[in-house]
C-alpha cells in the first residue's frame, strides 16, 4: 500500500530536493542582515541572578552585644527578587585570599523593592569566628562589599507548603524567620500563620530579640516562643526544643521549617520522626558542619591533628599546598590563595564541585549533596570534605 508514493505526478515529485534547495537559497538571500543581539530572556535571567554585585554598607545596627545588622545597598541600585530564607554569598578579599561566605538575608523581600531598596544580614559574633571577626573589625558605614544573590532552596513554597508554618530556629538560625516574619507582618504572605520556636543558650545569645517582639506584638499571625537551654533563671520555656513542645504548637498539616546547628538538627529530626511527620512537611536550611570535624559520625579520629599535602590541578597547571586534617579542602585552598567558588559551605549546593584524582577524604554526612555518579567516580564538594591523606584534586579554573 502506497509504497510508491505519487503526489503531483512524476516530474514534480522527483524534483523536490532541488526545489527545496532553491527555496532555502532564496529564503536566506531575502532575510534581513541586521544582527539580533537582544536576548531578552537572558536579560531577565541576569536581573534575577546578577553575577557580581557590589554593595555599600549604609548602616550598622548593634542589635545586641554579639549581633550586628548590616544594611547593604547595591551600588547599581538593583536588588534581585528573593524569597525569605534565601542567602547571599559574600566575597571577602582578605590578604591574598578570596573567601566566599553565605549569609541568610535577614531583611524581608518587600524591603528590597520600592524606592529605597536594601538587604540586611545579621552577623552573630562570639570570639574566635574568623569571618564574623573580620566583618566586625573591618566594616564601617560607607565601605563596599562584593557578593551575589539570591541562593538556596530553603523557602516557603505555596505550591507545596502549608500556610501554617512552624519555624524551629537555633542561635543565628533565626535570620530566615526574621525575614519571613517581616514579610508576613507586611501582609504579603496572605493567610500564613508563623509560629517561631527559637532556641538559644542564654538570653544574651538571642538575636534580634526586640525586633521579633515588636513584630509579634503588632501582628496576630506571628508568634514567637523563646526556649533557653542554659539559663536556669529564665522565666520562659527552658530546655531543648523537643517533641512535646513541637507538638503543642503544631496544627494539622502544618509545615515545619528548621534553621540551626548540626547538633540541634539531629535533635529536631528525632522529635519530628517520633511525631511521624512525613519528610515532605519538613524543610531545613543548610546545616552548618560543626567546627570540630572529629565529632561527626564516621570520622576516623586517628586522623585528627595530622597535616597533608594537596596537589591542586587546574588545567595544565599544578600547585602543591599544605592542609591540616581539621580543615576542609576549601579552607586549605583559601589559605593558599587558590580561588574556589563556594556557596553554601556545607556540601549541598555543589557550586565548588571538584574532582578527587587520588587520596582519601572524609565527606560530612550532613548535607552530602553529591550525585550518586559522583560518589562512585570521585566528584566531591571541597567545602564539606576533609583530607584524610595526601590528595590530588582537580578544581575549576577561576
Amino acid at each position: 500500500m502506497a509504497s510508491k508514493i505519487n503526489v503531483n505526478g512524476f516530474f514534480r515529485d522527483t524534483s523536490g530536493l532541488p526545489r527545496m534547495e532553491e527555496l532555502r537559497k532564496s529564503h536566506l538571500a531575502n532575510a534581513p542582515a541586521d544582527p539580533d543581539t537582544d536576548d531578552f530572556i537572558r536579560r531577565l535571567a541576569e536581573r534575577l541572578h546578577p553575577k557580581n554585585m557590589r554593595f555599600q554598607v549604609v548602616s550598622i545596627i548593634e542589635s545586641s552585644d554579639y549581633t550586628r545588622v548590616y544594611r547593604l545597598v547595591p551600588m547599581d541600585g538593583h536588588i534581585p527578587v528573593f524569597q525569605c530564607g534565601q542567602y547571599m554569598n559574600l566575597r571577602l578579599k582578605i590578604g591574598n585570599s578570596v573567601l566566599t561566605r553565605p549569609y541568610t538575608i535577614s531583611s524581608a523581600p518587600f524591603e528590597a523593592r520600592g524606592d529605597n531598596p536594601f538587604v540586611e544580614i545579621a552577623v552573630h559574633h562570639k570570639k574566635g569566628d574568623f569571618v564574623p571577626d573580620y566583618l566586625f573589625k573591618k566594616f564601617k558605614v560607607g565601605d563596599t562589599l562584593d557578593g551575589s544573590m539570591p541562593f538556596g532552596n530553603f523557602y516557603w513554597e505555596p505550591l507545596r507548603d502549608s500556610r501554617n508554618i512552624v519555624a524551629i530556629a537555633g542561635g543565628s538560625g533565626i535570620t530566615p524567620f526574621y525575614s519571613m516574619a517581616k514579610e508576613v507582618a507586611s501582609g504579603r504572605m496572605k493567610g500564613c500563620k508563623l509560629t517561631i520556636l527559637y532556641g538559644s543558650a542564654k538570653s544574651d545569645d538571642i538575636m534580634l530579640k526586640d525586633e521579633l517582639e515588636q513584630l509579634s506584638s503588632t501582628c496576630w499571625d506571628i508568634k514567637i516562643v523563646h526556649v533557653l537551654s542554659d539559663e536556669p533563671g529564665w522565666p520562659g520555656k527552658r530546655g531543648l526544643i523537643g517533641q512535646e513542645m513541637i507538638k503543642r504548637y503544631s496544627s494539622k498539616g502544618c509545615t515545619y521549617m528548621f534553621c540551626g546547628s548540626f547538633a540541634m538538627y539531629g535533635h529536631v529530626l528525632n522529635a519530628l520522626s517520633e511525631l511521624e511527620i512525613p519528610a515532605r512537611r519538613f524543610r531545613h536550611a543548610a546545616i552548618s558542619n560543626p567546627s570540630d570535624v572529629s565529632i561527626l559520625p564516621g570520622y576516623p579520629k586517628e586522623k585528627s591533628g595530622k597535616t597533608f599535602q594537596i596537589t591542586v590541578v587546574r588545567g595544565a597547571r599544578q600547585d602543591s599546598i599544605h592542609a591540616s586534617a581539621h580543615e576542609t579542602v576549601a579552607v586549605a585552598l583559601e589559605r593558599a590563595a587558590i580561588p574556589i567558588d563556594t556557596h553554601c559551605r556545607n556540601g549541598e549546593c555543589g557550586f565548588c564541585r571538584s574532582q578527587l584524582v587520588s587520596g582519601e577524604i572524609f565527606v560530612s554526612p550532613v548535607g552530602d549533596g553529591r550525585r550518586e555518579a559522583d560518589k562512585e567516580t570521585g566528584g566531591f564538594h571541597p567545602c564539606s570534605s576533609w583530607p584524610l591523606s595526601d590528595l590530588k584534586i582537580k578544581i575549576p579554573i577561576m
Binding site: 527545496m20 534581513p32 535571567a45
Partner: protein
C-alpha cells in the same frame, strides 16, 4: 604556568552530550589535542540537571534518546556501543499515551510499527493498512537519510536507491499524510507529539516528519541511569584519552581573523587558541554576539540566523510526590494530553494588560479566562513524563517523579518583569498540575515533596542558550533538513567553525549533532591534508581512515569499518563522476 596549552586542534564550546560526543568521535579518529569548555560544573549540558534535597532533576522533561535495539542500533546507539557505553540500556515497549477528551481519544501506543498500527486500528477501525503504510514510508525515508547525510550520489543513483525519499522530499508532512486517506482521528493519535511541539504539519517537511516518526515507533532502549551519569562517563573517557575538559568556563568570544577561527576567550579572560571551534551554542547566539571582531561576521551568516525561527521553549513543572506512580494516578511513561487540538501556539508576547491580569488574579482563573492570544503556554497540549516507568534507578524508592511540560514561544516572557516572574511561574505550575489531575483523576497535590518550575529564563540561566531555547529551529520547508546538509559548505561562513546539530526537529543539541560536527571538522582536516598534499610537512593531525560518515544506520547491524570502506569509496567515485 598557564592553565591551557598553547594551541588545540579543536576547542569545543559546551560539555553537553553533543559536545562530549564530538570530543570522543574526534579522539576515536586520531584527533585528541582537544579542549572542551563547559559553562556549568557538571558534564551533560541539559542532561546534567541538578540535585535538590537528594533528588536528581533534569532542567526540563527528559527527552528520549533514540538508540535503537541491540541488534539494530541507531547512529547514537552504535556510537555509544563503540564507546563502551551502552551497558544498562533496557528495551522499552511504550511509545506514548495520548489523551484527547474532546475527541474521545485515550490510546497507548507501543513500539513496533505493526503493533502501533494495530492499536490505532482498534480505536479507529480500518486504518491498519494506511497507518502501517505511512510508517513504512517514514522508515524508508529515515533509512535513506541515514545513508545520504554523509554522501550524496547523483540523481540516477538517488532515484534508484532512494526513490521514496526523492519523491517525498519536496512535500510537507500534511501533503504526504493526506495521500493515505486516514480519518482525522487516526492522524490526531499519530501526530500527538507534533501538536505538542506546536508545529503545523503544513509547514513541516515530510522528510523531517519521517525522521522523527520512524524512530518514535521503532523498538528502542532507555538508559537505566540518569543521563547525567552517561555524560560523566563520556567525560571520564575523553579525559582518559588525553582530552582536556574544564568546568565553570563560559566562552564569551570566538576569535576570528581573516575569515578563519583563531580560538576563544572565556569569561575569566583566558584567550585560548585552536584551529577549529565546535559550538554547541546556536548560530543565533554565535554570529550576532560572540564573534570577535564583529566585522568578521559575514552578512550571509546574519541572514542565515534571521531566516530561521527559534522553536518554543518549555515551561515545566518538576515534582517528586510521595508514593508510587500508580497511587498518584500516573500510569504511563510519556503522556500527551489536551482538551482541544490546536497546533498553533500563539506567538504574541503578553501585553501589559495580560500580565496585569495574571498578577492581580489571586486564584488561578478557569481555563476560559486565560487570554487565548498571548497565553504564555500552549495549554492545549501538555506532556507528562514519569521517569519511574523508564528507570527504577532514576527515582528513590517510594517516590514518583513527574515532569509536566507545555511549550511557550520565548516571546511569551518578553514583557514579564522580574517582580512578576515568580508569581507567573507559580500560576503556570498550578494550571499545568490542575490540567493533569483532570485526566488522571488523582489529586496528588497534598503529597508533593519537591517542586520546581522551569521556563526559558531558567534554561537561559542554567545553560546560557540563546533566549533559553533548547529545541533548535522551527522546521520549515525553507529549512529542509536535506537541503541543509547538501548546502553545508556554502553555509560555512567562518572557516574552522562548526555547529553541533541545528535541525529544528532534533530536540536540540544531542549526540547526533555532536557526531555531525566532529565529522565536519574531520572532513575539513582531510581536505586540507589532501590540498597540502604530497610530501609537504604539516603539523596538522592526521585523521584515521573511514572518516566520511561511516557509522550509518541502514537498519541493519553495522558491519566493521573495514567492511564499509570499499562501498563508500565506490560511492565516492560515482559521486565524483556525476558531479
Amino acid at each position: 604556568m598557564g592553565f591551557y596549552k598553547e594551541r588545540y586542534d579543536v576547542i569545543i564550546i559546551g560539555g553537553s552530550l553533543a559536545g562530549l560526543a564530538a570530543a570522543l568521535q574526534l579522539q576515536s579518529k586520531g584527533v585528541s589535542n582537544v579542549l572542551v569548555l563547559e559553562r556549568g560544573n557538571f558534564p551533560g549540558g541539559q542532561a546534567a540537571g541538578y540535585v535538590q534535597n537528594g533528588f536528581e532533576f533534569q532542567i526540563t522533561l527528559p527527552g528520549t534518546m533514540f538508540v535503537g535495539t541491540k541488534k539494530e542500533p541507531s547512529k547514537t546507539g552504535q556510537f555509544l556501543h563503540d564507546m563502551g557505553m551502552d551497558g544498562g540500556w533496557q528495551p522499552v515497549s511504550e511509545c506514548y499515551r495520548v489523551v484527547l477528551p474532546d475527541f474521545d481519544i485515550d490510546v497507548t501506543l507501543h513500539a513496533g510499527y505493526e503493533r502501533a498500527a494495530r492499536e490505532i486500528n482498534a480505536v479507529v477501525p480500518g486504518t491498519y493498512d494506511g497507518v502501517i503504510g505511512l510508517m513504512n514510508l517514514c522508515r524508508q525515508v529515515h533509512d535513506s537519510m541515514d545513508v545520504l547525510s554523509g554522501n550524496w550520489p547523483g540523481r540516477m543513483q538517488m532515484m534508484m536507491k532512494h526513490a521514496e525519499f526523492v519523491r517525498t522530499a519536496g512535500y510537507s508532512a500534511a501533503e504526504i499524510i493526506s495521500t493515505f486517506r486516514l480519518p482525522q482521528k487516526a492522524v490526531d493519535i499519530l501526530n500527538a507529539q507534533w501538536v505538542y511541539m506546536g508545529y503545523s504539519l503544513d509547514t513541516v517537511p515530510f522528510t523531517e516528519y519521517a525522521l522523527w516518526m520512524a524512530e518514535c515507533f521503532a523498538e528502542n532502549r532507555l538508559c537505566q541511569e540518569p543521563l547525567a551519569k552517561l555524560a560523566l562517563k563520556m567525560q571520564k573517557k575523553a579525559e582518559a584519552s588525553g582530552i582536556q575538559v574544564e568546568f565553570c568556563q563560559e566562552v564569551d568570544k570566538i576569535l576570528v581573523k581573516n575569515g578563519k577561527v583563531l580560538g576563544v576567550r572565556t569569561a575569566h579572560g583566558d584567550e585560548i587558541h585552536g584551529d577549529y571551534v565546535i559550538s554547541t551554542l546556536y548560530p543565533d547566539k554565535v554570529y550576532p554576539q560572540m564573534v570577535e571582531p564583529s566585522s568578521e561576521v559575514p552578512q550571509n551568516a546574519l541572514r542565515f540566523v534571521n531566516s530561521h525561527k527559534l522553536s518554543a521553549a518549555p515551561v515545566s513543572v518538576i515534582m517528586t510526590i510521595d508514593g508510587t506512580p500508580e497511587e498518584n494516578g500516573i500510569r504511563n511513561h510519556f503522556t500527551f494530553f489536551s482538551n482541544t487540538l490546536d497546533d498553533e501556539a500563539s506567538d504574541e508576547p503578553l501585553s501589559d494588560a495580560e500580565v496585569e491580569h495574571i498578577l492581580t488574579d489571586a486564584e488561578p482563573p478557569l481555563k476560559d479566562d486565560v487570554p487565548a492570544k498571548g497565553c504564555p503556554t500552549n495549554y492545549d497540549c501538555i506532556t507528562a513524563v514519569c521517569p519511574n516507568y523508564a528507570s527504577r534507578a532514576a527515582v528513590p524508592e517510594g517516590y514518583t517523579l513527574l515532569y509536566l511540560t507545555a511549550l511557550a514561544p520565548v516571546t511569551a516572557f518578553q514583557n514579564i518583569g522580574e517582580d512578576a516572574y515568580h508569581d507567573v511561574k507559580r500560576r503556570l505550575a498550578d494550571e499545568l498540575i490542575a490540567a493533569y489531575i483532570n485526566i488522571s483523576g488523582v489529586d496528588f497535590r497534598p503529597w508533593i515533596t519537591e517542586i520546581e518550575v522551569t521556563t526559558a529564563v531558567t534554561i537561559s540561566h542554567r545553560l546560557g542558550t540563546w533566549k533559553g531555547a533548547i529545541y533548535g529551529h522551527v522546521p520549515a520547508m525553507e529549512h529542509h533538513v536535506a537541503a541543509r546538509l547538501r548546502m553545508k559548505k556554502q553555509e560555512r561562513f567562518i572557516e574552522g567553525l562548526a555547529f553541533a546539530g541545528m535541525d529544528g526537529n532534533d530536540a536540540g543539541i544531542q549526540v547526533p549533532g555532536g557526531l555531525e560536527a566532529a565529522q565536519d571538522v574531520l572532513n575539513d582536516m582531510d581536505e586540507k591534508r589532501n590540498a597540502d598534499d604530497s610530501g609537504q610537512k604539516t603539523d596538522k593531525p592526521v585523521p584515521q581512515k573511514g572518516t566520511d560518515g561511516s557509522s550509518q544506520n541502514t537498519g541493519k547491524p553495522i558491519p566493521e569499518e573495514g567492511a564499509v570502506a570499499p562501498k563508500q569509496k565506490k560511492e565516492a567515485v560515482e559521486n565524483g563522476k556525476q558531479n
